[in-house]
Amino acid sequence: MSVLSSRAILKLMRRGELYLSPILDPKEQIGPISIDLRLGHVALFVRAAGSSHVDPRSYIDNRSDEREREKDQRQKFARSEFTFGERLLLHPGSLTLVPTLEWVKLPKAVKGVVTARSSWAREGLNIATASFINPGYNGIITLELANLGHIPIALYPGVRIAQIAFYEVEDPADIDQKSQFDMSFEPRGGNIGSHDEPFLEMERRRNRI
């Protein structure tokens, strides 16, 4: 698996196999093996009062109750939109999901890896816990922002806060699985209970005994 150079990335874009847009400032935004990503316009702030704790089992318990499932999802985050020039304040210890300004569509033979820009990381901004972007993914990229410093950080839509590098995937013929976040227009919470039911169900039975 090799990393793509900026030249290789641009060639893929020219052929229409890779979509990454907008690139506003090519000189500054495109590095030798990466492209900088800008902050988008939505923020999902995790609500401290939304729930007492995170529990994958609650996803299993609520799967047949649409109201509860939606309620949990929607109450977990406070959602805000920001136009250009408006400020988003990230407080120490808080977690906020934001989209990139860029829309990205990857070919089946390429995966993306997102990391923080080192200059922001030095200010205490951590951006990526789930940094792999699957081959074939299409949509905005969700960044999980956390402030690891001791003072709030102000962010503005349009500022470059992350970077993406691309890697070739060997033998991509069978890659066809869509991620649960495909065609995302903005960040949303995931489902941490799905496909782990045997373990979550077992524990519940034990609790009952």
Binding site: S21, P22, L24, D25, T83, F84
Partner: protein, 432 residues
């Protein structure tokens, strides 16, 4: 118990509180400060006027109370204006156009009109609320653009607001006379709408059960509605066709009300104007756009051709005269008149949408340099409608909601490109 005047002064204090409460929220645009200042100035004027009245001056107290009530309603709309509730990339693009159209270009000292954007709960409540007849009280005319909340992301339907901007334009004192003389009157000349007796006979022919008073009201309101359709079409371009078709066709197309002409009549007028503008021929000659462009415009013309003769209220040559005059008017306002984009650009945008990508993109040249084109939001919407009409063997057409959101995304990305380009131009591309 309060005395009459004392009670009104207390009401002023309540409205002031409501106004302060608007500061709790982030609003849609940079104009929110100007809106606050304007509302506060109006409130102070009303308060001062209450201050010099006596309790027994009932008529004057009542008149001022009505003004206070209207102001309170306006501030209530301001308070409910949150960018989360409507598509702000579209709204800001529309607001830019609206300010230019309703500004008084001949008088540089006049304050610019203020447009405020909010969302309402009705399913199809697209409106622009204009202010009329309060000249003594207003320093800046204040317009409210209202989107239906439930259609937040449906940018392909939003071009119907072009019609509402027609009302706003003709209500602007500096345009009223010109638009009435050059557009409205020629539009209805030689038609029953030009003569109340003929119009009442026409209503009998179409079995309208409007009562007498409402018939007179209809004769006054219908011409402006028909002019607004032409205005919407010239302002928003072909996407106005898709929006009106989708929003008006599901309802009875021959029903008659005092406020609006039957939709059958409106579609017939729009179809004639579209034919005159030649958009179908311009886009259908492009190989990739032939099928969707024909299907798109056919849906309008096929319906218009079936409109019974008696519903074709206007004289066709008069529609053409009015259309030409309206084009001349819009040409005087920078970027107001829709300019048909190059078919190749539209075809590229359709291709991108069919692969579920936003219609605008940074393009890479053969020398591997990047170019960002300036694309008008109205062209993006037209590409969205043509995509919806496409039957592409390779790529299924996205769902209507995804198509809308991709177009909205396109408008958002374009606003970033525009902002960046404007900055570069202003600073002569000199960066620190």
């Amino acid at each position: 118990m309060f005395a009459a005047r004392e009670y009104r002064i207390q009401e002023c204090e309540n409205v002031r509180d409501l106004l302060r409460n608007t500061l709790r929220y982030a609003y849609s645009s940079d104009s929110s400060k100007s809106v606050y200042i304007e509302c506060l100035a109006r409130l102070r004027l009303i308060e001062d006027a209450f201050g010099i009245l006596e309790d027994d001056e009932e008529d004057e107290l009542q008149e001022l109370s009505n003004q206070l009530s209207e102001l309170s309603e306006l501030i209530g709309r301001v308070e409910r204006s949150r960018i989360e509730e409507f598509s702000w990339p579209f709204a800001l693009a529309l607001q830019n156009l609206a300010v230019k159209i309703c500004a008084d270009h001949k008088d540089p000292t006049s304050p610019p009109p203020l447009f405020f954007i909010s969302a309402d709960d009705e399913l199809t409540s697209y409106r622009i609320i204009t202010e009329q007849g309060k000249a003594g009280l207003i320093s800046s005319p204040l317009f409210s653009i209202i989107f239906p909340r439930s259609l937040k992301n449906f940018v392909l339907l939003h071009p119907i607001l072009g019609h509402e901007l027609g009302h706003a334009a003709i209500s602007a004192p500096q345009h009223t006379l010109l638009l009435e003389q050059n557009v409205l009157r020629p539009l209805v000349a030689k038609s029953p709408l030009n003569d109340l007796i003929r119009f009442k006979k026409w209503l009998d022919r179409v079995n309208s059960n409007l009562d007498l008073d409402l018939r007179t009201e209809a004769s006054l309101s219908w011409p402006e509605e028909l002019y607004c359709d032409l205005f919407g079409l010239l302002l928003m371009g072909p996407s106005y066709v898709g929006a009106t078709n989708s929003l008006l066709r599901p309802f009875k197309t021959r029903s008659i009300s005092e406020s609006h002409p039957p939709s059958a009549t409106r579609f017939w007028v729009i179809a004639h104007a579209v034919n005159q503008l030649g958009w179908r021929e311009f886009y259908a000659k492009h190989k990739k756009l032939k099928q969707p462009a024909n299907k798109y415009f056919d849906s309008l013309t096929n319906f218009a051709n079936q409109v019974p003769r008696k519903f074709r209220l206007l004289n066709t040559s008069q529609i053409e005269i009015a259309l030409n005059e309206l084009q001349l008017f819009l040409q005087t306002v920078p970027s107001a008149l829709f300019e048909a984009p190059d078919p190749e650009l539209v075809a590229t945008m359709v291709s991108r949408l069919l692969t579920t990508c936003p219609p605008v993109a940074s393009e890479v040249s053969s020398k591997l340099t990047i170019r960002n084109r300036i694309v008008d939001f109205r062209s993006i919407l037209f590409a969205g409608w043509l995509t919806w009409m496409s039957t592409d063997a390779k790529n299924p057409v996205p769902t209507f909601i995804n198509l809308n959101r991709l177009c909205q995304r396109g408008i958002l990305q374009q606003s970033a490109v525009d902002k960046w380009s404007a900055f570069k131009e202003k600073n002569n591309d000199v960066r620190p």
